[in-house]
Symmetry: C2
Subunit: 144 residues, 2 copies
Amino acid sequence: MTTAGSGGSEDSLRRRAAAWPVARLGTVGAEGRPHLVPCCFALDGDVAYSVVDHKPKRSTALRRLDNIRANPSVCLLVDHYEEDWSALWWVRLDGIARLVADGPEHERAIALLCAKYPQYRATPPSGTVVAIDVRSCRTWAAGP
Amino acid sequence: MTTAGSGGSEDSLRRRAAAWPVARLGTVGAEGRPHLVPCCFALDGDVAYSVVDHKPKRSTALRRLDNIRANPSVCLLVDHYEEDWSALWWVRLDGIARLVADGPEHERAIALLCAKYPQYRATPPSGTVVAIDVRSCRTWAAGP
C-alpha cells in the first residue's frame, strides 16, 4: 500500500479516521457514473469492512454491490467538517473491493463492526460484507 | 430532473441539504476509479456550485477537475450522521459537471458561496467553479 500525506501527522490522522463513525463509499456504475453512499466501517490493518445492514434501505440501496461486481475499484473517504476550517482533515482510502457473503472473513468483519458500533450489537448485521483491500492511503489536514 | 425519496419529507430533506455546510463530491478518474473529496457547495435551483478555494491543497487536489474534463458525470452526496441511527438522512444529487473559470456564472457562484459561508467572505475564492447540472435527486431518511 502506498501512503502520502499533507498537513497534520499522517499516523495520527489514520488513527483518527479508524475511530471515526462514518465514511462515504464511492463506487462506479454503468456508463462511468460515480455513486456515493454514507456507510459505517471498521478497519483491520489494510482492509476496510462495511456491511449491508438493517438500516432501512431504498430499493436502489444495493447498487453499490452491483457496481462492485462490475468494477471493484472503490474509494472510501473519511473526513471531518467544522466551521473552523483550520481544523479540517480527511483520509482517503483507495482500493479494490470484494463481496463477502459468509464464512470466516464475514464473521470477523461483523465482529469488528460490532466492536466499533454499539448500535450493531443488539442485532448484528448479517448482510453482504464489502471488504476493501486498501491500495493507497492519502491524508490531508488544514492545520499542523 | 427526476426525484425520488424514501422516508422523511422529500422537500424538507432537500431544504436541509441545501443549508448543509458540507458535501462529498465523487468523480471518476482513469481506469474507472472513483475519487471523493469533501467540499463546500451552494445550490441554485437545479445547479450545485463548488469552487477550488484557498484551503491548503495537496498536489493532487485538482484531480477532480482533470476527472471532470474527461468524464463530466459526478455525484454530490449530502448526509447527516449521528449516534441515533433513527435520525440519519441523505440527499444524493447526480449530474453533469461543467468547469467555469470566469464570467457571469462564475461571479454568481462565488456570490452564492459567500452568502452561504462567512468563511469565504473575507477572501472570496477565485478558483475554477464546478457547476453541476443536477439530473436526479434521491433522498433517504431513516425516520419519518
